[in-house]
């Protein structure tokens, strides 16, 4: 606490911010040439928001996501997660944040090919020290929530792209995170699978999880509540959607996700 926005902060908005970045700059050095990926980005994302970040390639949106995910550190500027400055965390604390508070979904799924679906979903729980049996139970529930109950023992190579991405989402959910960060989650999928994925994200968001996703597909962005547009390392537009697209979804999905977040919270914490 106490590391909130300073008096001259550029962000002034609601009351409980989950993510708050202030004049973020990120400069990469390639040889002697400096490339500015972010040139002063300030943004505040509140709890329960569903933000789509859009922009052309090289606009800095992936760099931004990496910083939000505590995988990368900004060159300048501050990033507070739950009003705690991320720049003051050490390796162990960052790992803990990535493990407990954030769920990642990648464009290329990033499943370990040697492990079956259930074992892939269990991975983050291993780093949390959850006992094996509890891990398996939680993984099965998470896979059930994304509709893959009958694919527990399939290796990634035996699953379709959409199914793999759902395994990856189950993996991001299994720790009951506060935020889900998705980098082009539908980029490698056909439209139908993409919509199924967005249905899951919307259900997650409805259950209270903050969702931030990067996309350059304008249709996909319409499923979010708010669209932030990047260009050349700066935010050029920030709009709240008045009428967003709602992906069709089965009512059971909400029940399963609700069950996931409520029923497992205690067990995860116990572990």
């Amino acid at each position: 606490m106490g590391a909130g926005p300073g008096p001259d902060s550029a962000v002034v908005r609601g009351e409980s911010s989950v993510i708050e970045v202030d004049r973020l700059r990120k400069i990469y050095r390639v040889g002697s040439i400096e490339v500015a990926a972010l040139r002063g980005v300030s943004l505040r994302i509140d709890e329960g928001e569903f933000v789509a970040i859009m922009g052309p390639s090289g606009s800095g949106k992936t760099t931004f996501m990496n910083i939000l995910g505590c995988l990368d550190q900004p060159t300048e500027g501050s990033y507070s997660l739950d009003e705690v400055l991320v720049s003051e965390m050490d390796d162990t604390e960052l790992a803990r944040v990535r493990n407990r508070r954030i769920g990642f979904v990648f464009q290329t799924y990033n499943l370990l090919p040697r492990l079956n679906a259930a074992a892939n979903v269990e991975l983050p729980l291993i780093y949390r020290g959850v006992p094996r049996r509890t891990r398996r139970l939680l993984a099965v529930r998470a896979l059930e929530a994304v509709g893959l109950k009958d694919r527990l023992h399939h290796k990634p190579s035996e699953l379709s792209g959409g199914q793999q991405q759902r395994v990856a989402i189950a993996r991001s959910l299994v720790t009951h995170p506060q935020i889900v960060l998705a980098d082009e989650p539908t980029g490698n999928l056909d439209t139908k699978s993409g919509v199924e994925i967005m249905a899951i994200f919307q259900a997650l968001n409805d259950s209270g999880i903050t969702v931030v996703l990067v996309t350059h597909n304008a249709d996909i962005a319409q499923y979010a509540k708010r669209i932030v547009r990047f260009r050349d390392g700066l935010i050029v537009a920030d709009e709240t959607l008045s009428s967003r697209t709602i992906a069709e979804r089965d009512e059971s999905l909400d029940a399963l996700i609700a069950g996931l977040t409520e029923g497992t919270a205690e067990e995860v914490k116990a572990g």
């Binding site: 990496n66 390796d91 493990n99 990642f104 990033n110 040697r114 991975l123 291993i126 780093y127």
Partner: protein, 402 residues
Amino acid sequence: MNLLEGVRTALLSITSNKMRSGLTMLGVIIGVAAVVIMVAIGEGANLQVSSQIERLGSNLLIVMPGRTREPGARTMGAFGSMDVLTMDEVQAIRDECPSVRAVAPEISRGTTVRYGSSSIQTQVVATTPEYLSVRAFTVASGSFFTEQDVQLAAKVAVVGQGVVDELFSGADPIGQELKVGQVRLRVIGVMGSKGQSGMTNVDDAIYVPITTAQKRILGTKYVRTIYAQANDAKSMDAANDEIVSVLAARLGSTDAFYVRNQADVLGAAQDVTRVFTLLLAGIASVSLLVGGIGVMNIMLVSVTERTREIGLRKALGARTVDILMQFLIESVVLSLVGGVIGIIVGIAGSRIAARVAGWPAAVSVGAVLIPFCFSLAVGLFFGIYPASRAGRLNPVEALRYE
């Protein structure tokens, strides 16, 4: 991530690439097996030499002509070359040394022994009847020559079991006549089989009265070796001093002869075999080192190949130390499994080597534990660099790695 989880992850990774893991382990297996076998051979040789020396007899002092050098500088085989000791010295030791129970001279020379139309190369050992008790030898059949035979320089011989087998084709030799040079010797007894003892193979020799050898065969009045048996283990030092003073008085100098006791000889021989063992183990260690480098090589390849996995694991909450441990455990498991297999192969190999060499198989606990710890150390040492490289990987770059 706890240790059990780490081992499980490591095993999964090792078994998912069986060919490569197997070949990597092979390096460690060969290295560890080589160390086990080489140390077992060295220790076997040591045991063998020690038992040979112990079989010389008990509480023995060995007098030889020549200069005493640094302890250990002279080993069993290096007989003195000066002709200084005669039967008079034997008699003097017998008479004037109260701590000496029995004395026997020995001249031993390789020679051709003929029987009928066949002949063999063997040792002629010339001595006195006391030799039997001093060297703890036995006669299997017939009898040993007597004091009277010595006085008369009788043309008799007692033959070893090996001579019986080779020259007489196993038939009873007693009463038969042998020829050594132009001298005919009647066989009066067969020695009990005892195998290698000191420098001589008891079985592969014929025994003749010392006077017979001196006068009729070799034409010398000197003896090469005098074996003196002390009354008991406690009187070894006293016997040693007595012999030295008696001989020094007779020969005028302590430089003309030297006295060794069994412990000296044993110590010297063990020094030699210890160096031998160390040398063998050192050579074998090189192959273990090469095996370790193989482990490191594969671990480096594995880290590069799994860069994305490392990035992902970090994104999912693995700390630097978790990644480091994962790869370190993998490298340790790889070399430990290799080490255990190597020890098994090594034990089997040293059994075979011992059988081929006719030595006792001496696989000691140390010879197993040390390479085991060594392979553990190899895994740790050669795993640390690849593992720390994995741990230090930047997650963003690792995830972007193709």
